[in-house]
Symmetry: C2
Subunit: 227 residues, 2 copies
């Protein structure tokens, strides 16, 4: 067993982060992708935003920095949590890069006012082949999102601060890909005691206005299964 190695030999790998950012547009789940152009291996393929981790920052810092710099999503506009670390030798065909993957969620308002040209909100149903190992990353990300939806309040990061119970239900339906009974959903979610009535009502709708609710806590909470 070699007890010491020269520092240069230890520091062989680039450390990166990548983020799978989810958002709901028009009742469809979307992810934020950028065009990857890294000939000869990756030419005009979509990939998730990310970048290298710096000497002076944690992986969390790096995600926040790259999301702000590369896709104009400031940290205040996105909820992130660590997903998995991807370390396959050839996951980046050009160099050895180990990447800490993150999932993220943004509220509809962020997407509505999003106008950065170098990144695209792509409906997940239209995701094709992605750059690097981002196919695997997406598979883990969507699976994690589905899981978290069922036993945490992560839905709060995909909704405006004030929302109707129907909107909340639609988050579950869109992501889990199933229809949910309206009465049963309401009974269950209200019984969990994580929502509060705001007293406000929807405005400007051409039908009966719905009551607006908010999550009691701004932090994600663990729950008994919601669905």
């Amino acid at each position: 067993m070699t007890m010491k190695k020269a520092p240069e030999e230890l520091r062989f790998a680039a450390m990166a982060v990548d983020a799978v950012i989810f958002g709901i547009i028009d009742k469809k789940l979307h992810v934020l992708v950028q065009n990857v152009v890294r000939p000869p291996h990756y030419v005009n393929m979509p990939g998730f935003p990310g970048g290298l981790i710096d000497k002076t920052e944690t992986a969390e810092d790096a995600v926040r920095r790259h999301l702000a710099d590369k896709v104009h999503l400031p940290a205040k506009d996105v909820y992130t949590e660590q997903l998995y670390t991807f370390s396959d030798i050839n996951r980046d065909k050009r160099n050895r890069v180990i990447s800490v993957g993150y999932i993220g969620c943004v509220k509809p308002g962020v997407i509505e006012s999003y106008d950065y040209d170098d990144a695209t909100w792509l409906p997940v149903r239209k995701l094709g082949k992605l750059a690097y190992d981002h196919d695997d990353m997406y598979a883990m990300a969507i699976s994690r999102l589905r899981g978290k939806l069922s036993y945490t309040t992560i839905a709060q990061f995909l909704l405006p601060s004030f929302f109707t119970l129907t909107e909340l239900q639609e988050v579950y339906e869109v992501i889990l890909g199933m229809d949910i009974d309206k009465r049963n959903f309401r009974k269950k979610i209200l019984a969990l005691d994580v929502l509060k009535e705001t007293g406000r009502m929807q405005e400007g709708v051409k039908n009966r206005p719905a009551a607006l609710y908010a999550f009691k806590s701004k932090a994600i909470k663990e729950l008994p299964p919601v669905i």
Copy 2:
């Protein structure tokens, strides 16, 4: 935005792995620790086994290699899965090291025949201050183990291949820290259809011998909640 950096500058961080290996001895949960002596910061504190990731290996490869080399646990004797990546700037007070944490489980037979002096099976109730950020790592590890126990067949990696239903129940009781009703437990676990009767019976016990069961699959499976 700097578009290119010199390779030396990118490759700043040592990448490591650490593993929290669980095992049950005498109906008590234990973890495998080694004495850490890295003056001046860590002098005779227990820490989890681990080490650097090599150029030519994945994080999974590195965990297997370090478990075999440093604590004499060959890969065939331990189930591992990725836990979380720890990247705090000062998590190792000596150098910047980013570490991919793993949890692992070993069967009682492995512990019984374990005779390597440089590592210790420590009851988790007696864990004190650990080296590096291994306190945080342990907190996440035990929480992950508890979670997985409740919705996967991870218990199979903490038991011999053939086991009694009482032994299986004890795995749950020891890790979840609660008593479980024997009749209800049996009904539930058998209904999940993950166990098979082996036809064999306990031998050499001084009371009524119990039937020996085995898991149908050697791979971990997701389940509806067991407990």
